[in-house]
Amino acid sequence: MIIVEQLTKRYGAFTAVDRVSFRAEPGSVTGFLGPNGAGKSTTMRMMAGLTRPSAGHSTILGVPYERLPNPGRHVGVLLDASAQHAGRTGREVLRLGATVMGLPRTRVDEMLEVVGLSGSEGERRIANYSLGMRQRLGIAHALMADPQVLILDEPANGLDPAGIHWMRGLLKSFAERGGTVLLSSHLLHEIEVIADHLVMIGRGSIVADGSKAALLSSVGTLVRGLDARALGRSLDDAGFAYTTTTDQAYVVAATGEQIGTAAVRAGVVVTELRAADGAGLEDMFLQLTSDDAREKVSA
């Protein structure tokens, strides 16, 4: 169980993480979704005691991370698979971790086997590892003590499709046994297939939080017209709440019949009218991503 409450991180005038709150429950996989630079990694570093929050706090298994005795035994953390000494072998990295955590040395070989780095690959120096191999090693390190909680930052990065499939199975079975998994990604589809619960962050703030089923199920009605602006006015006139998608459609909190009636009254030609089947989440995500992209262009 992970509880994050009002976590905030400011760097001077810039607020990287702004009052972020969410929970990750045992027995489920929580996906932490957001575009690059949205504050995912900063939030996760604060959860692991590596970055001091400007405000707010977080607990893991009811305890602040820093107060967990031998935290590696409770929480498997993988924040950056590339943050390893290039001159060490994969096996050596696991051996150091096993020593700190107080695990038998046999666990090192077991884990290399689990993540598919057995044999000569474990003896190679990390400088010669691909990003996918580093991710596997990092996952081995996180799972080594058979923890109750996993915190993984972009663990699918660099994994090949087979590797992603494998990791999905690994995390699902971990959650099925009662574990808590929090994993981040900047790819909606990657998270969609594995997470039971979604937390979406954009520009440091939580923009959506709920079960995947709820977030991906109908969130209103999608309507598109020949004249988008006129259609928007007709929705305003009818007093409906709506959001605008990036491709000039509207997701409206009203039934198809209500919207159709409003459009007829305004004399607007409707070209598409249907239940917004989860498109809301995707659009919201695209919006977040494109906002950031625009920002980069203008900067």
Partner: protein, 266 residues
């Protein structure tokens, strides 16, 4: 892949397993000692310290006059190469965590950064003691070889105080390197400053005549010079070492610890 799924029972964990206790210091120390030698850089640095120590003994054995082949001189011969290399060990022990970004893992496994720092310091001090021990042993062998091969004087002319000062000299170097590494958190910067700053400082004191009296108090190299000259440290010398050691070792170390505790690990 199957080992993770073998223990099947559902166990929704909402509190930490109470049977797990804090990481004992001995394990942290073991890991930090291992980290000093488990990379190529670390391994070859230690190997170089050993090889160069041996080499200077051999060179001294054949180059020095027979009457100079005493235990004290053999020991003194090892002092300079060791005092050049041991601080690098102290520097690397801390800076690689930042340059290689392993600090991310180190401090998630042991959130108490102070404990990790102490474990690192103890580790480099232990290796420093070992290096000096090896130097004393190799020097003793050199002295025996000197008597056997070169008709050397072979005098065992070193007192306990001399051995002590030799340890003090090298340990100050190791800890000073460690402190510079802690403060700068960057290998290149720490190594450059470690070697350049004292030289610049030394030049300053030798150029400005008025500062000459203050030199042993403010310049660590001047303060420990008696050891290089084969003398033992006396009352005043200790005061000099204490004051200049505070300036050059303890103050950077304290600032480095503060920086470590406050720093964001990323």
């Amino acid at each position: 892949m199957s080992t993770m799924t073998q223990e099947a029972p559902f166990r929704p964990a909402v509190t930490p397993d109470p049977s797990v206790t804090a990481v004992p210091f001995s394990r942290l120390l073991r890991v930090e000692l291992r980290k000093l030698v488990d990379t190529r850089a670390g391994f070859w640095l230690l190997a170089a310290i050993g090889i160069i120590t041996l080499a200077v003994i051999v060179v001294f054995l054949f180059a020095a006059d027979a009457d100079q082949l005493t235990y004290l001189n053999f020991v003194a011969a090892t002092a300079t190469p060791q005092s050049l290399l041991l601080p690098v060990l102290g520097i690397l022990a801390v800076t690689t965590e930042w340059t290689q970004r392993t600090s991310l893992v180190t401090f998630t496994l042991e959130p108490s950064r102070a404990r990790t720092a102490v474990a690192k310091l103890v580790a480099v001090v232990l290796v420093g003691l070992l290096a000096v021990g090896v130097a004393l042993a190799v020097a003793a062998l050199g002295n025996l070889a000197g008597m056997a091969l070169q008709d050397g004087a072979g005098t065992w002319n070193i007192e306990a105080a001399g051995v002590r000062d030799f340890f003090v000299l090298q340990l100050i170097g190791v800890v000073q390197g460690f402190a510079f590494g802690m403060l700068l958190m960057n290998t290149a910067a720490a190594i450059v400053l470690y070697y350049v700053l004292p030289i610049a400082w030394n030049v300053l004191f030798s150029l400005v005549g008025a500062l000459e009296d203050a030199a042993p108090w403010l310049d660590l190299n001047t303060a420990i010079e008696p050891v290089y000259e084969g003398n033992t440290l006396q009352g005043d010398d200790w005061a000099h070492v204490a004051v200049s050691g505070t300036i050059w070792v303890l103050v950077p170390l304290a600032l480095g610890v503060v920086r470590l505790l406050r720093r964001e690990v990323k």
